[in-house]
């Protein structure tokens, strides 16, 4: 039996819970992405509820907490019987990261991992060389890298209304995982960051700084995504500030240490080329002289 589910933590854990509650033979159940579902010979495909449904979210939450309890059982770091989610061993938190992966095998990998966690309990923490655990670890590691790339390479532009706007195209659904980071970083700023690939966006309004609160993550339909991407109403200062950043970047390169001297391209190694199109410092248009120099940067009135 193939359970078709959404590619999200709620979708995958909810489908895992459905398979468990149906008392289906574990070895004969697999999870497949709803949008890329292909039945094997003789296999029945069963559709699971959408990850927007309250029932599925509730079931997913039960499964997640169950894993936390089973893995944390006997763990000296457990709090109120639940995994603290930041311990060095196998913990439920890695499921959250892995579930943001775009890899088609993700739902089944998480499904097997969850089943194993219920069977192994606290022993799961030391099964770090197990193939199933390694597979989920790899997914989680990749997503964490993409989260890091999002924090590093998202570039905001100041709009005419004073808000900040960024478009970023990661290889995993990182916006829900990094929105809190940007909200904390930006303080009272109003901002929006859009990922058109996964059609997710984070909005943050000013004056509501409280840890991860004050921001909202939404799923966009195609029309809303296109509308946001069409945003071009830049602040009059924006082009000059971009030129400043490009000038700074161009000025700090050191001679004698580039790819021709090293034999390999360290820059591309650290900063994958797929992000270069969105980087202000690599956009040659920012070499052009901006028509307006903001008063504060004219060098005349400031002391």
């Amino acid at each position: 039996m193939a359970l078709a589910c959404d590619l999200s933590l709620e979708g995958v854990l909810g489908a895992t819970g459905i398979g468990y509650l149906a008392h289906a033979d574990e070895s004969r159940v697999r999870l497949v992405p709803r949008d890329a579902c292909q039945a094997r010979f003789g296999e029945q495909v069963v559709d699971t509820p959408s990850d927007a449904s309250d029932e599925l979210v509730g079931l997913a939450r039960r499964v997640y907490r169950g894993i936390e309890r089973h893995v944390a059982n006997g763990c000296p770091k457990a709090r109120n019987g639940a995994c603290p989610t930041n311990c060095a061993g196998a913990c439920a938190r890695r499921l959250v990261y892995a579930s943001a992966s775009d890899v088609p095998s993700m739902p089944e990998a998480l499904h097997r991992y969850a089943r194993k966690a219920f069977v192994e309990g606290p022993r799961m923490r030391s099964l770090i060389a197990d193939e199933l655990v390694v597979e989920v670890d790899e997914l989680a590691r990749y997503v964490l890298n993409e989260c890091e790339h999002t924090k590093q390479f998202a570039r905001f532009s100041l709009l005419a209304d004073g808000s900040l706007f960024a478009v970023f195209r990661p290889n995993a659904d990182t916006i829900p995982l990094t929105a809190g980071y940007f909200a904390a970083r930006m303080g009272g700023e109003r901002f929006c960051i859009v990922d058109p690939v996964h059609r997710s966006a984070a909005f943050h309004d000013s004056g509501k700084l409280s840890g991860h609160k004050g921001h909202t993550v939404v799923r966009l339909d195609r029309e809303s995504a296109d509308q946001l991407l069409a945003t071009k109403d830049l602040s009059p200062d924006e082009l000059y500030v971009r030129a400043l950043w490009k000038r700074f970047y161009d000025s700090v390169a050191l001679p004698g240490r580039d790819a021709s001297q090293r034999g390999y391209d360290l820059q591309a190694g650290w900063m994958p080329r797929r992000f270069w199109g969105g980087l202000t410092e690599l956009d040659l248009r920012n070499d052009a002289k901006a028509s307006t120099i903001p008063q504060r940067y004219t060098g005349k009135t400031l002391k």
Binding site: A88, R123, S126, L127, I128, A129, D130, E131, V134, E148, Q152, F153, R155, F156, S157, L158, L164, A166, F182, A184, R185, M186, G187, E189, G211, Y240, V241, A243, L244, W245, R247, F248, Y249, S251, V252, A253, L254, P255, G256, R257, D258, Q261, R262, G263, Y264, D265, L266, Q267, G269, W270, M271, T280, E281, I293, R296, Y297, T298, G299, L302, K303
Partner: protein, 501 residues
């Protein structure tokens, strides 16, 4: 001159400073302020030469009255000069930060008249950032040797990290190339920073015991610590100098090593401490960086290598002494780039000693995270690091009798000595072996660098028959593999024969 032109001049003038980290302090977001600082730091871009750009690294001014021979901004150099106004630079920092270009500011300067006058200008910029623009991001500032204690203190309460550049690895080289600088002028602020941090730590601990930490933190923020220091002098530390005769530094190092050895003999292990994912011999403060008000991310320094004749042994002993005596967080090494015609320096066109710089960073890493002592990496008899193999492998090949190490029962200290096994890998091995026997296939899944490690390990008493424990063979294999790499091929072409100086 508009800011665009100034920025081009003053960023270009600052690019030879190697440090660009924003790590060392965890300070959460605060209501009404912009930004925060996270312990791990974050790189926002990478230059064509592959260096991380995490901070807006600029000089306040490149109009320098000093005449250091190696410096592109020296008094006699014919270069365009510019100076930021404090507000202009503060505006620039906030504009870049809001757009997610940077984590904060790295502010250095040429000596604009006197050290105090220059520092006052930098302090004004930092004050504007912290008080007026409510900037809560990371700030790294350079202390100019000769700055008065009061200004260093004020600087330290606005910046997250301070650094005093050692510049050159010996007092003799400094005297020869930097006529306006001297060893005491450099070591004095280093000692002051360490003392003030220690005093603050002590006060915070006492405050915690008495349960009045909030009141104490408030008083620390309001009152310059330099006045408190006046009543708590520590003459021994004051007398120290980074350039004191090296014998004194070595003596201290050996004393510590001897102590460590005695402890190691008693416990049959090395006295390692776990600090996060690191293993280190150095004690760690129990006061969180976020609670500190004075230089919460600690201090660092930078050395130029390849401009003067000091060997790697000298540099590593010096680094170790700096870590111990001034509690430095980092010593940065900057391979000298010949930019100046001067008979006392390598001529223009000489290759930049990138490989040597890389080996020094590796050795430094081993001292900080793997509990190696400098004596294990280089000696007066063998004063240069092996350029063909990394320092850890070089050590293992010199001590081949200590291997192989059994994966199933080796202590973490021993696992850390295995080439290809790092702090994370060692912990993974220790976790995995609790679940049952660990094989070489398991090690590969744990992301251990088996290409190196398999020579030095046994799994359940079994050695990999294809990877013999033969020092000569291992060296030949590693050197042969390295020769195939694009890096080595290119560097050999650039350098001709390997040259160390």
């Amino acid at each position: 001159m508009d800011t665009l032109t100034k920025l081009g001049i003053l960023a270009d003038a600052a690019k030879y400073d190697a440090a660009c980290t924003s790590s060392g302090v965890d300070r959460g977001p605060q209501a009404g302020k912009v930004g925060f600082a996270q312990g791990g730091g974050l790189c926002h871009s990478f230059t064509p030469d592959g260096r991380c750009v995490t901070l807006l690294k600029v000089l306040m001014s490149n109009a320098c009255t000093y005449d250091c021979a190696y410096c592109v901004n020296r008094r006699q150099a014919s270069v365009p000069r510019a100076t930021f106004t404090p507000r202009e630079l503060a505006e620039l920092t906030v504009d870049f930060y809001r757009r997610n270009y940077i984590e904060g500011l790295f502010l250095s300067s040429g000596v604009l008249g006197t050290p105090d006058a220059t520092t006052e200008r930098m302090i004004e910029c930092l004050r504007l950032l912290r008080d007026e623009y409510r900037f809560n991001g990371y700030i790294h500032a350079k202390v100019i040797p000769g700055t008065s204690d009061e200004l260093v203190d004020a600087f330290g309460r606005l910046a997250d990290r301070l650094s005093v550049n050692l510049e050159l690895p010996s007092s003799a080289s400094l005297t020869e190339l930097c006529p306006e600088k001297n060893a005491r002028g450099i070591s004095h602020p280093m000692a002051q920073i360490r003392r003030t941090r220690e005093l603050e730590e002590q006060m915070l601990k006492e405050g915690r015991k008495k349960g009045n930490s909030n009141k104490l933190e408030g008083s620390l923020a309001a009152e310059p610590l330099v006045s408190a220091l006046a009543t708590n002098p520590q003459p021994q530390t004051e007398a120290l100098s980074a350039f004191a005769p090296l014998t004194a530094i070595e003596g201290s190092s050996r004393l510590t090593s001897a102590k460590q050895l005695r402890r190691a003999e008693a416990t049959d292990t090395m006295p390692l401490r776990a600090v996060g994912m690191q293993m280190t011999l150095r004690p760690r403060s129990t006061v969180a960086s976020g609670r500190r008000r004075f230089v919460p991310a600690g201090q660092s320094t930078q050395l130029i290598v390849g401009a003067t004749p000091e060997d790697d042994n000298h540099i590593l002993q010096l680094s170790n002494a700096l870590y111990q005596r001034f509690d430095l967080k980092r010593v940065f090494f900057s391979a000298y780039m010949p930019m100046v015609d001067d008979a006392r320096l390598p001529e223009q066109g000489a290759p930049v000693p990138l490989r040597r710089e890389h080996r020094l960073y590796q050795a430094d890493w081993l001292m900080r995270y793997y509990a190696f002592s400098p004596d294990e990496l280089a000696t007066p008899e063998e004063p240069w690091l092996d350029l063909d193999v990394d320092p850890k492998l070089a050590w293992a090949l010199r001590h081949i009798d200590r291997f192989p190490v059994e994966v199933m029962d080796a202590p973490i200290e021993l696992l850390l000595r295995v080439p290809g096994v790092g702090p994370v890998g060692a912990r993974r091995i220790m976790a995995a072996r609790k679940a049952g026997p660990v094989t070489f296939e398991d090690l590969a899944r744990l992301r251990i660098t088996l290409k190196r490690a398999r020579h030095f390990l046994t799994c359940g008493g079994k050695h990999d028959p294809k990877s013999p424990l033969d020092a000569q063979l291992i060296r030949e294999k590693v050197v042969s593999d390295a020769k195939q790499s694009a890096y080595n091929h290119t560097r050999r072409q650039a350098e001709g024969q390997l040259s160390l100086f």
